[in-house]
């Protein structure tokens, strides 16, 4: 067969290296480079990226130097110490605990859970959406019914009830509980895109080229929706910070002795705290706002650059 091809083509093995080099010099940049270029061109995006990465590193490393149990000890002497007094540069709460230290540890806990939740729920949602969208028929039908049912459940209530039932839980189990309820949005988005991608002829071409379903789903279709996946994951990271802090705020997130940005904001529930002792809760709220805005902005920039690379595609 090879002779057959050789006979009809002027290209021989001797030309291989030279042609390969020629081709390489004409090669096009990858998508990752296009995204990075977009960041370099956009100053606010760089600042946002710097804030997010820098802050995560700071709390991860900083929290290593803080003895959490000791930090959480009640010290009535420092009751609601104002910022700058008694060595508390962000003040202390009603139990005399350092706000600054709680912020660092709390931020680490909140971000850690948000990252875990984002990874688990996105991976699950992406797989669910891809599989459900690719296999139409009974598999899709069944998966859609499960999806419908999950959508009907009142999420916040269900999480609170489950947290109440389970007596001993920690950050890991909490992340898993959240994950049960937060994959639907991603799966819906991915499914609808997968449906339209599956219609395209390159999927049919892969089938006739002998590629198996698993490879078609994850190596043909998934790269084509990768920009959607990246954007969705970034945005759900911002959203997931809100999920954990929100429930901790209500008192059903992390256990009382484990600080979180949410439990800090919960200090605002006390009418005295909210006005007089603003430092007990406002810094945590400000932190969440800055963090969420930055992450969300990064998501927007990635979306824009993904659009741009796609636009480049059709303009030809």
């Amino acid at each position: 067969m090879e002779e057959n091809l050789n006979k009809h083509s002027d290209v021989s093995a001797a030309d291989l290296d030279r042609l390969n080099k020629e081709a390489q010099s004409e090669a096009t940049p990858a998508a990752a480079k296009i995204i990075w270029d977009e960041f370099k061109a956009d100053r606010p995006a760089m600042i946002a990226l710097f804030i997010v990465v820098g802050f995560i590193l700071f709390v991860m490393i900083g929290s290593l130097f803080i003895n959490t149990p000791k930090m959480m000890e009640t010290n009535i002497m420092n009751y609601n110490a104002a910022p700058g007094t008694s060595g508390f540069w962000l003040g202390a709460d009603s139990a005399g605990r350092s706000i600054a230290q709680q912020l660092i540890v709390g931020a680490r806990n909140s971000i850690g859970i948000a990252i875990g939740l984002t990874i688990i729920s996105s991976v699950f949602g992406i797989c669910w959406g891809l599989i459900s969208g690719y296999f139409n028929g009974y598999i899709d039908w069944g998966m859609q019914r499960v999806y419908d049912f999950m959508m009907m459940l009142p999420m916040t209530m269900m999480i609170i009830v489950i947290v109440t039932i389970i007596k001993n839980y920690n950050a890991v189990t909490l992340t898993l509980i959240f994950s049960i309820f937060y994959w639907e949005g991603t799966s819906r988005l991915i499914r609808s895109r997968t449906l339209s991608e599956s219609e395209k002829d390159y999927v049919a071409a892969s089938k006739t080229s002998g590629t198996g379903s698993f490879n078609i789903i994850f190596r043909e279709i998934m790269p084509n929706i990768s920009s959607l996946i990246i954007v969705d994951t970034t945005l759900s990271f911002a959203e997931n910070i809100g999920v954990e802090t929100g429930l901790s705020y209500l008192g059903f997130g992390l256990p009382i002795q484990t600080p979180s940005l949410g439990t800090l904001i919960a200090n605002a529930n006390d009418p005295n705290n909210i006005t007089q002792y603003w430092w007990t809760w406002l810094p945590a709220a400000a932190l969440i706002i800055i963090l969420c805005l930055s992450i969300s902005y990064i998501g927007q920039v990635i979306r824009r650059s993904a659009d741009a690379s796609q636009r480049q595609g059709v303009s030809d």
Partner: protein, 324 residues
């Protein structure tokens, strides 16, 4: 023995309704068709939109779930997935798609696109594989610098040639070409058709050429089948179909092709309107009570038409009289 034998092929799409999602009705996209493709020939499958010609093509290449009937290749019925796998069927039967942009994965480089069937069916070393891809590019008239580019960096005609290169990569025996040039400009269409013919001459490939463009089909095909609402209405050689059409549907299609001869446009129009009038008036003669074509009956060794035997003979006689 023919290369491929399609027998009583039916593809029905179920319509589900009601609470239990039961099948209550079905769309008969392909409704019992039979034809054979010989080695080395181009077989034309012609029809209007919704006639089921694309569904037929997809069934032959194994992309469509067949309701009933058989497609025999090397003595095995390849409508069954098990047989397709046992034969490495798609190593021998490949496909060229209509929309060149959508048929090439936009996130893959040309090298990976053309090498995909090679990687699945023939296990070559890296260098062997690269050489094969370069040779294939050469065969369809593209330079080596295409190797690491993405599909969107090519024009429509170039992309369609990349599609051809992928289809011939495994040296197949049959290629299903589903409207391969209908999205292309005239001059580019000529280029792609030339490459298809050249490859056929050199490798002895057969084509199932699916198209609605009778001009292109006449240029490409030796044998032609005309499809109408899921059934075949007429099959025959190029000469049978273009010069001695029997079924009114075939005549109507032929009459509707616009002609580039400006001088005879009035006559052409008059004859088209005459055919149209017969088509409207004699529906019951050419179609059964459900408005579908009759089973094919042979009227010569190469030529069959979907009419009851007696009606077919009568029409042939009438035609003879008119000509005499």
């Amino acid at each position: 023995m023919s290369l491929i034998e399609i027998k009583n092929l039916e593809v029905h799409y179920p319509i589900r309704s009601g609470f239990w999602n039961r099948v209550t009705d079905s769309v008969k996209a392909v409704d019992g068709i039979s034809f054979n493709i010989e080695a080395g020939e181009t077989y034309g499958l012609v029809g209007e939109s919704g006639s089921g010609k694309s569904t037929t093509g997809k069934s032959v290449v194994g992309l469509e779930k067949v309701t009933s009937g058989s497609i025999m290749y090397q003595g095995k019925d390849i409508t069954k997935k098990k047989n397709r796998e046992a034969l490495d069927y798609n190593h021998d039967v490949q496909m060229i798609f209509q929309d060149s942009l959508s048929s090439l994965n936009p996130r893959k480089r040309i090298e990976d696109i053309i090498a995909e069937p090679l990687r699945n069916f023939e296990h070559l070393s890296k260098d062997e594989e690269k050489l094969r891809v370069l040779q294939l590019l050469d065969i369809v008239g593209l330079d080596a610098d295409a190797l690491y580019k993405y599909p969107h960096q090519f024009s429509g005609g170039q992309r369609q040639r990349i599609g051809v290169a992928r289809a011939v990569a495994t040296n197949p025996k049959l290629i299903i070409a589903d409207e391969p040039v209908s999205a292309l400009d005239l001059s580019v269409q000529a280029q792609v058709l030339n490459f298809m013919k050249k490859i056929q001459r050199e490798f002895g490939i057969s084509y199932l050429f699916i198209s609605h463009d009778l001009g292109v089909v006449r240029h490409m095909c030796n044998n032609i089948a005309i499809m109408n609402r899921g059934r075949l209405v007429e099959i025959g050689t190029r000469d049978d179909i273009y010069n001695h059409p029997i079924h009114i549907y075939t005549k109507r299609l032929l009459a509707a092709i616009p002609e580039t001869n400006v001088n005879s446009r009035a006559e052409h129009r008059a004859s088209r309107l005459a055919v149209e009038e017969i088509y409207q008036k004699q529906q019951d003669k050419y179609y059964d009570k459900d408005g579908l074509a009759y089973p094919l009956v042979p009227i010569s060794p190469t030529h069959s038409v979907a009419l009851p035997q007696d009606v077919a003979q009568e029409i042939i006689k009438q035609e003879g009289e008119v000509q005499a």
